[in-house]
């Protein structure tokens, strides 16, 4: 006896992601899922974004890490709301964890919510969290082979931030190759070269972010 199901396999996560996504839509929030290797500068990028857009955009951050609330503390130091999810070993955030975290901050009052995923270029890309947009951060010191090694993560990005661009003269990093390798898996993502430490190129990222707020 054949039974046709055509059922999404990670459906429990997908259902919860859909509920999160409805919450964001109902409250006119743009939610961005930020994915990268450990140490690419996600938290620094978000902290600078919050400070530079202070008074203009209400931002909160959901932080995901295996251990510690170090990143949430860094975000709170900017004056923004942050909630830390300690995954205690899990290598990616799930939609259920995000749903719980949303109750710990005044989420409905926000314009933008960033979810900083666990630093990992593999697993987070397979788990929808209900985000509107996916941000991938690639930093120059990580090396120019990351897009070709982790195609799934780069394929699903809406925007790719090439961070620590101020270090490009000191590191063997072929920017043209990176852009070509990204284009070989993703024909749509916007790419911005920036440095969250020096501030170089950040205004292009802010312009993109604001254009997405106007669409929501």
């Amino acid at each position: 006896m054949k039974i046709s199901l055509n059922k999404k396999i990670l459906d429990k996560n997908e259902e919860c992601a859909l509920q999160n996504s409805e919450f964001f839509a109902d409250n006119n929030i743009v939610c961005l899922n930020v994915i990268s290797s450990p140490g690419s500068g996600k938290t620094t990028t978000l902290s600078r974004t919050i400070l530079d857009l202070n008074g203009e955009v209400k931002i909160a951050v959901i932080e995901g890490d295996i251990r510690t609330d170090t990143d949430a503390q860094k975000i709170r130091a900017t004056g923004a709301n942050a909630v830390q999810i300690e995954t205690k070993g899990s290598c990616h955030l799930s939609a259920q964890q995000v749903s719980g975290a949303l109750t710990a901050i005044p989420a409905a009052e926000m314009d933008v919510i960033f979810i900083e995923n666990v630093g990992n270029l593999v697993c987070p890309s397979d788990f929808a969290l209900g985000e509107d947009l996916r941000v991938v951060v690639l930093s120059v010191p990580e090396g120019d082979d990351k897009p070709i090694k982790y195609p799934g993560t780069f394929a699903k990005a809406d925007v790719i931030l090439i961070n620590k661009i101020d270090l490009i003269d000191y590191i063997d990093f072929d920017l043209e190759r990176v852009i070509a390798d990204i284009r070989a898996v993703n024909d749509k993502a916007e790419m911005f070269q920036l440095s969250a430490t020096t501030g170089q190129g950040m205004e292009n990222w802010y312009g993109w972010l604001k254009s997405k707020m106007n669409q929501s």
């Binding site: 054949k2 999404k8 396999i9 990670l10 397979d126 070989a184």
Partner: protein, 116 residues
């Protein structure tokens, strides 16, 4: 992909269906896309562990890797994109327009009624 999580998810669904129909499961068809690929060996290993002693024991999983349809931006060639050899088959260009990648699906299951 998280093959153990995928194995657990499909195992629960198949056991539910088998019990509902008072049947044992014989095979299942699973499909995935190019950017959420399943490692067949790991999924089979994890599933076999779960299936032992259940209505799924001895089941065969057919895992379909669905190609991603792409159009070369250089020469217009339409082709099935393979993440492991992504270049355009005609002109070797690496810039394409993609169709949507296939989702991770449990498509069909084959059940065999248990004789009373």
């Amino acid at each position: 992909m998280h093959e153990t999580m995928v194995a657990q998810s499909i195992f629960e669904t198949i056991v539910g269906q088998a019990n509902e129909h008072k049947a044992r499961a014989v095979e299942a068809i699973i499909s995935c896309g190019q950017f959420n690929p399943i490692n067949d060996e790991v999924l089979n290993f994890a599933f076999d562990l779960l299936a032992k002693g259940s209505v799924c024991e001895g089941m065969k999983l057919h895992i379909k890797h669905i190609p991603l349809s792409a159009v070369c931006k250089e020469c217009g060639k339409k082709f099935d994109y393979d993440v492991y050899k992504p270049g355009c088959p005609d002109c070797n260009s690496m810039e394409f327009d993609f169709k949507e990648d296939a989702p991770l699906l449990l498509e069909d299951i084959e059940l065999e009624l248990i004789d009373k």
